[in-house]
């Protein structure tokens, strides 16, 4: 079996179909474990009280919003350069889920900001760049939906996704580069996490849950996109 095997829409369709139920199961299990750890085990924060518990969905959603964008830009670029249809279709399948997690990061951030900062929203570097990310996702979706020809649509989308990718390091480093109201990184590579172990565990479990959820939804959507775009293909007709 070659590494390009799953570049064929037919192979991808079959493999994604087999993996999806496991992804749903993992999302549910990690989610339940994460919520239990986050609400039943992790202690109340001495500074923020119980408002801090929003972190268990806020940080994982923010991570997913960035990770999914990078994955989307990567597959869009891959599809553009190598003219690989499946990569382009997968990029399109990722976009709505990325937009959703960006919205969740902004929404939960607002509900956390109000009790801790005294404001729902402020145009600081972190919040503004995350808001721009939401606009990039919506722009990508609108652009790819607006062009009927699949190949031209994929190429235009790839260009937008690649240009927008410069925003990802801006989001990530914004709390270092600028003086922001948003707090610095909760955990970073090479440094001890600035939080209690049970809190960290809950956050990581929710991250795994969101990650598995993203795979499940993106696989399901990608399979739908394959059927929509490849309806003339012989293997699709044989389904």
């Amino acid at each position: 079996m070659k590494w390009t095997t799953y570049a064929a829409p037919s192979r991808f369709y079959a493999l994604a179909g087999r993996l999806t139920p496991w992804c749903w199961a993992a999302a549910a299990l990690f989610g339940l474990a994460g919520l239990w750890t986050g609400f039943a085990i992790a202690p109340t924060d001495f500074q923020q009280g119980d408002a801090y518990r929003i972190i268990f969905i806020h940080v994982p959603a923010a991570w997913m919003s960035m990770v999914i964008y990078l994955a989307m830009a990567f597959w869009a670029a891959w599809g553009w350069m190598l003219n690989a249809r499946m990569a382009s279709m997968y990029a399109r399948a990722l976009a709505p889920t990325g937009a959703l997690f960006t919205f969740v990061a902004l929404w939960t951030g607002a509900f956390w900001g109000k009790p801790t900062w005294g404001t729902w929203w402020v145009w600081d570097a972190r919040l503004t760049s995350e808001f721009i990310l939401l606009m990039l996702y919506l722009g990508y979706i609108a652009l790819t939906e607006a062009i009927d020809d699949p190949r031209r649509s994929a190429n235009a989308g790839a260009l937008l996704a690649l240009v927008g990718a410069v925003n990802i390091p801006v989001i990530y480093f914004s709390v270092k580069w600028w003086n922001t109201l948003h707090q610095g990184s909760t955990i970073s590579v090479g440094a001890a996490p600035k939080m209690v172990a049970t809190m960290l565990t809950a956050m990581l479990l929710m991250t795994l849950s969101f990650w598995a959820y993203s795979f499940a939804v993106a696989f399901t959507r990608a399979r739908a996109v394959v059927l929509e775009q490849e309806s003339e293909a012989e293997w699709v007709r044989g389904l």
Partner: protein, 54 residues
């Protein structure tokens, strides 16, 4: 266990509105996406069956 009663759990130390406002909307939009994506997949399969029958 942090909570002595369901009331205390929903009260969330006085931050109930914020914590449940964040979690509630997150659960809602994820559920919405699951419904939407399953519908799209079902429609794609149905269109295919329809196309074959013609």
């Amino acid at each position: 266990m942090n909570w002595t009663s369901w009331g205390a759990f929903f009260h969330m130390g006085g931050y109930g509105l914020y914590v449940w406002g964040a979690y509630g909307v997150t659960a809602f939009v994820l559920a919405l996406e699951i419904v939407a994506v399953r519908r799209r997949a079902a429609r794609a399969r149905a269109d295919l069956q329809h196309g074959v029958a013609e």
